[in-house]
């Protein structure tokens, strides 16, 4: 399957992602932020598809957009946001924060302009038919131990979340 209009979709999706990201950090209303983040995540899933990583894209949609964001929305509804919306949105050290981020951005720019030639282009395989199977054999083969540790992490997270959110233990 030949890719269709790659640059167009890349710029469309990255534009969506960046606008979404800006909205996430600027909106007063947390629900609007969450909405913007969902758009960003979905655009990113599409970018994964462009990178021939359909399984990661699927996981992104199911876990991020369908799971984590629902959790976020749930919590936003539980805590009342009316009061928070009327208050100051940015903390006192926002100037320092932006300066630090700007410095980091400058560093990135320097690195990327200097290291532009470090990724020579290769003829990229376009086959994605076996992507899921390949990811699966890596996950359950080479990365078996990491996979088990991830499941342990999730177990710890479940217990932690329950302990934190429970009234009395």
């Amino acid at each position: 399957m030949a890719p269709v209009a790659t640059p167009f979709f890349f710029y469309l999706l990255s534009g969506t992602m960046l606008i979404g990201g800006i909205l996430v950090i600027t909106r007063k209303n947390a629900v609007h932020s969450a909405l913007a983040l969902i758009v960003t995540l979905l655009a990113q899933a599409a970018i994964y598809l462009m990178l021939y990583a359909p399984f990661v894209a699927g996981v992104q949609i199911i876990l991020y957009a369908g799971g984590i964001m629902v959790l976020f929305l749930f919590v936003i509804m539980l805590v009342s946001i009316e009061r928070t919306m009327k208050e100051r949105q940015f903390n006192k050290q926002w100037l320092v924060g932006i300066a630090a981020a700007g410095a980091l951005g400058g560093l990135f720019m320097a690195v990327y302009t200097k290291g532009k030639g470090i990724f020579p282009e290769h003829a990229l395989p376009t086959a994605e038919a076996q992507n899921t199977q390949a990811v699966g054999s890596l996950l359950y083969g080479q990365y078996m131990f990491a996979f088990e540790i991830a499941s342990l992490l999730l177990l710890v997270a479940i217990i932690g979340a329950v302990v934190m959110a429970k009234k009395r233990i």
């Binding site: 539980l78 805590v79 009342s80």
Partner: protein, 383 residues
Amino acid sequence: MTDPNTLSPLDLETPEKPFLDANELVINMGPQHPATHGVLRVILRLDGEKVLGLECVIGYLHRGVEKIAENRTYTMFNPYVDRMDYVAAVSNGLGYCEAVEKLLSVEAPPRAQYIRVILTELNRIASHQLWLGTHALDIGAITPLFYTFRDREEILKIFEKYCGARLTTHAFRIGGLQYEAYDGFEKDVKNFLLFFAPKIDEYEELLTTNRIWLERTKKVGIISGKDCIALGVTGPVLRASGVKWDIRKAQPYANYKNFDFEIPTGQNGDTYDRYLVRMAEMRQSLRIIQQAVDGIPEGPIIAKVPKVIKPPVGEIYHSIEAPKGELGYFIVSDGSTQPYRVRVRPPSFVNLQALDVMCRGQLVADVIAVIGTLDIVLGEVDR
């Protein structure tokens, strides 16, 4: 009841500290709500879905029935009682007529009493059918509603043939009956008995052993017999809590002592037991009707009652077992043609008191089930 506008649901005592204090919900269920059976308003205080307490606000259907009675003659007031519990109008009429008869010291002739029993028991079945349909609908089962309405129609047809009205029948007169039973009345009733016995099985097939129905009704809205007596709760609700109290047996009226029937009782006092008790009551009503229709005596249908009813000075309290519980009439006569005071003890109103006790600590969905199981009629609560 205090002024509803000054009523704060937050005044209710809190059983325990809620999960998220700031997000404790106060919900107004009703007066426009599909499951409050009319215009009952319930102020719910919720912790998530758990009910911390509730307060009933009533009076949205108040028509001043008792006050109207003071400005009408005894005969003129008779149709008004039908409008209280409009799904069991015959029972209301029976209670009123018997109370006035007691005041007048007359007794309806046996034939009238037999026909009264038949009609009252038919009406009890109709009332329970309506209860079953709406109760099941509240819990989510749509279909029983239509089945019960289909079968209730047969009862209403008999009423219509007998007195011309289907709902607010005004079937009885003080001293007996106004109309002789029409030709074929007995046949119609017998046909109904044959028709209806298998229908109860049909309802039970849909619900009694249904897993979801069991989960929704068992251990929901439990009330103990002691609490019932303390709150004055009567009728099937009381009997489901294990108290064998039925005025038809305890203080027999209208010839009920001549009929052989049982008082179905439950043990747990939960919604499921109340369901079973009412289903059993329908079967018992069928038994009573069978005996009554087999033994209708010949004779007059109305006792000798003067044209203008002027009871002697005095007061009387007479209660009957309406489908929903004890329906009592307290009538004070000053010797004139109009009662000095009529006070109705409506079963729905008294039973509604138990709602708070039954709902504490349950979930929102259970409130619906409990309102349904109490079988209240707002016309009777507010009068």
